[in-house]
């Protein structure tokens, strides 16, 4: 699977239709592709280029600018530990060291079973809950080493239910309804 599936193509078309210019849908479509495949494949980028009437190089240029688009396979769970100032002041680097030991991988690495990728994050807007981390962009605050172990254990045991696999962000999408005004296309303004 790499090009968008027929169902995702329908979603993609709905996303494109929301914007005054199709190209604006580029980032949401890359997220959609990443949700489908777990990372952003070359085939998906080429497909997105087709949908937006641009070149794959344009999609690649945009996608590669952003941290969250993974151009290579990553673990089912991406654990990102914030090490920026507030978290650093509260032991984030010590937490990273612990995480590396616990998982047996260095920052950027993926466990051999392909389950977990460990990353360092920049400020996550949770500074008052330092040190903090995200699992697939879902927050955990005030994380102690014991909390970290428990988290990893639950991921390994498959008991952590509230985190979808890597690639899925929001589980609720904005829907287009009859109430839609198509206001961007209107000529007159109050």
């Amino acid at each position: 699977m790499a090009r968008l599936t027929p169902e995702n193509l329908v979603t993609a078309q709905a996303i494109i239709a929301r914007y005054p210019r199709p190209r604006s849908a580029l980032i949401p479509l890359c997220h959609l592709a990443q949700e489908q495949d777990g990372y952003l494949t070359e085939e998906a980028m080429a497909h997105i280029a087709e949908l937006l009437d641009t070149t794959p190089a344009e999609v690649y240029g945009t996608a590669s600018f952003y941290e969250m688009f993974k151009l290579h396979r990553v673990g089912k769970y991406l654990i990102g530990v914030c090490t920026n100032i507030s978290c650093m002041l509260n032991g984030a680097y010590e937490l990273v060291e612990h995480a590396e030991r616990k998982l047996g991988v260095k920052l950027g690495g993926t466990t051999p079973d392909g389950l977990i990728t460990l990353e360092e994050m920049e400020c996550l807007a949770a500074c008052t809950l330092a040190p903090c981390l995200q699992v697939n962009y879902r927050y955990e605050g005030n994380v102690s080493t014991a909390d970290f172990d428990a988290l990893v254990d639950s991921l390994r045991a498959g008991t952590k239910q509230d985190v979808p696999p890597h690639g899925t962000l929001a589980t609720v999408r904005q829907q287009r309804s009859d109430q839609w005004a198509d206001s961007a296309r209107q000529e007159t303004h109050s």
Partner: protein, 452 residues
């Protein structure tokens, strides 16, 4: 002195469990501000908001109503809500989006009505999956209830609000980069001039970019009037603002405080706010307005949170991110960590920022690794000067000294990310030169107790 009781303008619903639902929001007065606005003319709404001086809460501090007046008179035109919150130390917009998503929508609608906008884009930071969910759900409900979309509240006015989300790039918080990103491009800032958003913004059409918190003030102003808003805070700095207090304090948290009145001492020591420095230690330095702001020290504790006072003292309030560093902090390391942030997040467009931030980071990393050379200090300062020339803003060397220069900084770059890197650099070098010297001479940090 305890801080004065004030109305909770933007955080009022944080304790209401179901405030994120349409029901809970409406029960607590939600969408009434919009109703009031729709009963007025757009120009009257602008006049009302201008009367309240809502300084932008995204960092630059430009008052919202005045900004709207700069809109070029052509259509289509756009409102873009900046929910990309990523400035180190900042944690406020995310709480609003997660706990009170309808407030953001209501504020955005008021702005859109006032500005006669064609469509609203709500740009949420990519990493905030939960905020995206809450906003998406809120939008779906609001559409269904006739609060967004066609004929809003039977007023005859229609507008769409589109949820958009990013993918991990701090620089996209800059408004022109945000617009590039919203156009599906690499988030690289545009030069101003000529690309002032109000004239040539999204799709090169007139655009207003406002921060989430800025807009969250609007429903209250519509309900209570500009005068009531202006009665809160100091003369130049009206209303309240959210601050995130983090680092070495006993009660880290995000608090709504009175603009221009509350001081940094209150922020760190008031029992209802920071509650004192951790473990009863001494405060060594603090970041008064996010990673990009020059640091303040002990002698600034009595400075109020008022841009017109903080600026001349050499720093900024920025995004309300206040980080306390106690006397155990290794200042070279703290400096390096912030410099590294900017080096990683530089978009790469301007030569001085792209090359300079990384170079600074490598030099600092080398010093931390014990390979510093005495001439490195001068080099760091000069490289910084090539990114932000002239005396860099910041307080003097010791209490009582005149500031080196008032805020804002000068720059050889397009946007403020470049010079931002110089803030931690010059702050640390000027005030904690001894720690750098120690690293260079002995290859290790000063004898400070490692932070826990």
């Amino acid at each position: 002195m305890a801080v004065r009781e004030i109305p909770r303008i933007v955080s009022g619903r944080w304790d209401v469990d179901d405030a994120h639902t349409l029901e809970g929001f409406k029960r607590t007065g939600g969408y009434e501000g919009l109703r009031r606005a729709l009963a007025m003319s757009p120009d009257d709404v602008i006049a009302e908001v201008s009367g309240a001086t809502v300084q932008g809460r995204g960092g630059a501090g430009f008052p919202a109503g005045n900004k709207w007046k700069l809109l070029k008179d052509s259509f289509p035109r756009w409102i873009v809500v900046n929910g990309d919150e990523s400035e180190p130390g900042t944690y406020k917009d995310r709480i609003i989006m997660e706990r009170d998503p309808h407030l953001v929508i209501e504020g955005a609608l008021i702005a859109a009505y006032a500005c006669r906008a064609s469509q609203v884009f709500l740009y949420v930071r990519g990493e905030m999956a939960f905020a995206q969910e809450r906003i998406a759900a809120a939008l779906n409900d609001a559409y269904a209830a006739g609060l967004v979309g066609k004929n809003i509240l039977d007023s005859g006015w229609s507008i769409d609000v589109i949820l958009h989300w990013g993918a991990g790039a701090y620089i996209v918080g800059d408004e022109t980069a945000l617009l590039e990103s919203l156009e599906g491009n690499r988030g690289m800032p545009r030069p101003k001039p000529p690309f002032f958003p109000a004239v040539m913004g999204l799709y090169l059409q007139p655009t207003i970019v406002n921060n989430v918190e800025t807009l969250a003030n609007l429903p209250w102003i519509m309900m209570n009037g500009a005068e009531a808003f202006a009665a809160i805070g100091s003369e130049k700095s009206n209303g309240t603002r959210l601050i995130a207090v983090s680092g070495h304090v006993n009660r880290p948290g995000t608090y709504e405080v009175e603009c221009g009145i509350v001081t940094f001492r209150d922020v760190f020591y008031d029992p209802s706010l920071g509650g004192g420095i951790r473990d009863g230690r001494e405060l060594k330095a603090f970041i008064p307005g996010g990673g990009s702001s020059p640091w303040f020290f002990e002698e600034h504790l009595d400075v109020p949170l008022d841009p017109t006072v903080v600026g001349p003292a050499g720093s900024m309030i920025g995004s309300g991110a206040i980080v306390a560093m106690d006397d155990t902090t290794d200042m070279v390391r703290a400096c390096w960590r912030l410099v590294r942030f900017y080096a990683k997040e530089s978009c790469g467009k301007c030569t001085p920022c792209r090359e300079g931030t990384s170079w600074l980071e490598t030099i600092l990393a080398r010093i931390l690794a014990g390979h510093g050379r005495p001439e490195d200090i001068g080099l760091l300062v000069d490289v910084g000067d090539n990114i932000s020339p002239g005396p860099f803003p910041g307080p003097g060397l010791a209490a009582g000294d005149a500031p080196f220069a008032p805020f804002p900084y000068k720059k050889t770059t397009i946007c403020d990310l470049g010079p931002s890197v110089v803030s931690p650099l010059m702050s640390a070098i000027r005030r904690f030169r001894g720690e750098f010297d120690a690293y260079i001479a002995r290859g290790v940090g000063p004898e400070v107790i490692a932070s826990v």
